[in-house]
Symmetry: C2
Subunit: 388 residues, 2 copies
């Protein structure tokens, strides 16, 4: 495992992110950028709190054409926001169903609207509007001269390429995840209900140093499993099961996202064969992950191996994705995604394969793209299906 | 602790929820209802998965004027959704940046639009649009005859009143939370970094039977703390600290949400006095929580006690809220909320108080409104500030 990095980032990190955003804004003719979802607000401000789990209050951050971002947030977050690098923190007593920050936002954006400026807002693929739609409509009605432009690509483009400090955090949590998976065979056994397997995994991840293990999914059944997003049942592990656990553990607000597969007591030939194929598909992805290649190239490289057995690829829609402050981020390893890989991108490779009567298997590893061979952040899965 | 209840719900529970929604839809002149956020999709379908933590894919559920809801979801969720009570599950291969469910939704809603029908959508207070705004705009452009009505009150009104089966789950997780808080003094001591206190709490919550403890916040400092939403520091607990932990533990998709305060080694008079006042404010809230009273009444009852020392009430915006599938739900105990309490509502009481030089303290308990005195779901906090 890596040495524990420092928490948070130096103010220079946020200043550099803001500068890069402002340079792109200028190129795109944007006079300001309004973000309101957790990773974007944190990306530019450093505001880091689990309080976002409460859906009650909206939070806004405005990135002007130059200068520091301006926060427009509920008073309950003022103390924490003011500890960060921002200077202009405007608050209201929230929740307030009549005016949850809308008049503060209107005041802030009115000068831009008066001169017919263009505001960037993330409204494209993989985004949500984290405020009430009716409030958004009210805000637009109050700012009739304001142009709205889609800033999804701008922000996602910045976030895709990680800084050294971000990579250090991602390496740390991937190390914790790897140590947790390594310990798992000693924690579970035939007869243990899957629900308890999940619980043992979470407790071990915390003991290994994770801040939390918010995402744990998995499955276990005879010769394989049928889906990969269900919560666990009380069914005990049985000889002949294939057990899969997939986790997003978190440290200082950064995620790992990878899985491991095991056979309980014994494995049949088909499961061994599928495992081997997915291990090789992952390897093909690792070999292809070079700057200049596209996400489509990664998809094609992994698909070619999977096609030995299955040409559907198991319809999970893609074979991996970006990783960072979110469990899944842009880009997508899919035929539609022509994103060109760059040094500093942190990616998962996640080939999956359908077989038998509705069974499937998934492998996953996390890596960072470098100027030569990628650096694997996870301890590579065993080349042969391990037996517990 | 309560006996572990059964997981999930009988199909009759979902059928009853749908019938109640359809009765309200008829009263309000709605021809259909479209929901897309996790608790709402789960409320009507039983679809329960941590996969929502990935922001990549949108998920839609349509409740028609009569008959079962119709799911429009990514193929990766088909297996799990079809295990539930729904019959009509329409899927697409997601992610698909060009068409993430929009043409499926257009086909589904076109007949409604052609006859100038009205679709209910949650667009009010405490809601988000969990799909790209640009996709929403495309959908509206494709369905020009469709009327959109705000269904926030309809859905929140249904969800506020819990069934017996829901209350059983909430009682179970509140029992687990109470047992975890009871064990905490044996797990922490002077000198332990706050970060490790959080980790010990999470591990204990899992050991006590929680599925997860996704929300843990808290603070510790001399004589009190200054905010209640920060992640933990590495600062060791010191004699004279007031330690507060606030948690949302989860079991089978239902939350507890309450906190506890302790003094480390010794407590000063001011902290004892504030603790006592908040304990009595909570008691005033418990005494006022009767069917027919309003949330404003609860707010007033608690505020009256707090006003002995502080008339700002600590600006966290409200003194408690609803609780269920989300850490915080409607209603709000605030001067603006005239929601009338009904049997079956599960509520937190959360009085807070500002004192000294920027310090604050918060108490919280969870209860269910009955036809007489409320049933406390949490083990009541000690009447005097406990010392570790």
């Amino acid at each position: 495992m890596t040495q524990t990095p420092a928490r948070g980032f130096a103010p220079e990190e946020y200043a550099a992110r803001t500068k890069r955003a402002q340079a792109r804004m200028e190129q795109l003719g944007l006079d300001g950028l309004l973000v309101m979802s957790e990773p974007e607000v944190r990306y530019f401000s450093g505001f880091h709190t689990p309080f976002w789990q409460s859906p009650t209050r909206p939070w806004f951050l405005y990135v002007p054409a130059s200068g520091k971002p301006i926060a427009v947030i509920p008073e309950i977050g003022a103390e924490l926001m003011r500890r960060g690098w921002l200077e202009d923190v405007r608050t209201w007593s929230a929740p307030n169903p009549k005016d949850d920050g809308i008049s503060l936002l209107t005041d802030l954006l009115a000068p831009l609207a008066r001169r017919g400026g263009r505001l960037g807002v993330m409204k494209g693929h993989e985004t949500h509007l984290r405020m009430p739609l009716a409030d958004w409509e009210r805000l637009m009605a109050a700012l009739p001269g304001l142009g709205i432009a889609d800033a999804t690509g701008l922000v996602q483009g910045l976030r895709m390429v990680k800084s050294e400090a971000e990579i250090e955090k991602l390496a740390h949590i991937c190390g914790i995840g790897s140590a947790t998976f390594a310990a798992l065979p000693g924690l579970v056994a035939e007869g243990m209900p899957l629900e308890e397997v999940f619980r043992a995994f979470r407790r071990e991840a915390l003991a290994q140093g994770a801040d939390d293990a918010p995402y744990v999914v998995g499955a276990a059944d005879q010769g394989g499993y049928a889906d990969v997003i269900s919560p666990p049942s009380r069914r005990p592990l049985q000889a002949g099961d294939i057990l899969m656990l997939d986790t997003g553990c978190m440290w200082d607000g950064y995620f790992c996202d990878f899985d491991r597969n095991w056979a309980i007591t014994r494995a049949d030939d088909m499961a061994r064969r599928v495992y081997d194929m997915l291990w090789r598909a992952t390897q093909a992805g690792i070999d292809a992950a070079r700057p200049g290649a596209t996400c489509r190239d990664l998809f094609t490289a992994m698909s070619a191996v999977i096609a030995e057995l299955d040409d559907s690829g198991g319809d999970i829609g893609r074979l991996g994705h970006g990783l960072g402050m979110q469990l899944t981020e842009q880009p997508s390893h899919a035929a539609f995604d022509e994103t060109v890989l760059q040094e500093g991108m942190v990616l998962t490779l996640e080939p999956s394969l359908g077989y038998g009567d509705g069974l499937m298997m998934v492998h996953e590893e996390d890596l960072v793209v470098t100027d030569s061979a990628p650096r694997l952040l996870t301890t590579r899965a065993a080349p042969e299906l391990p037996v517990i």
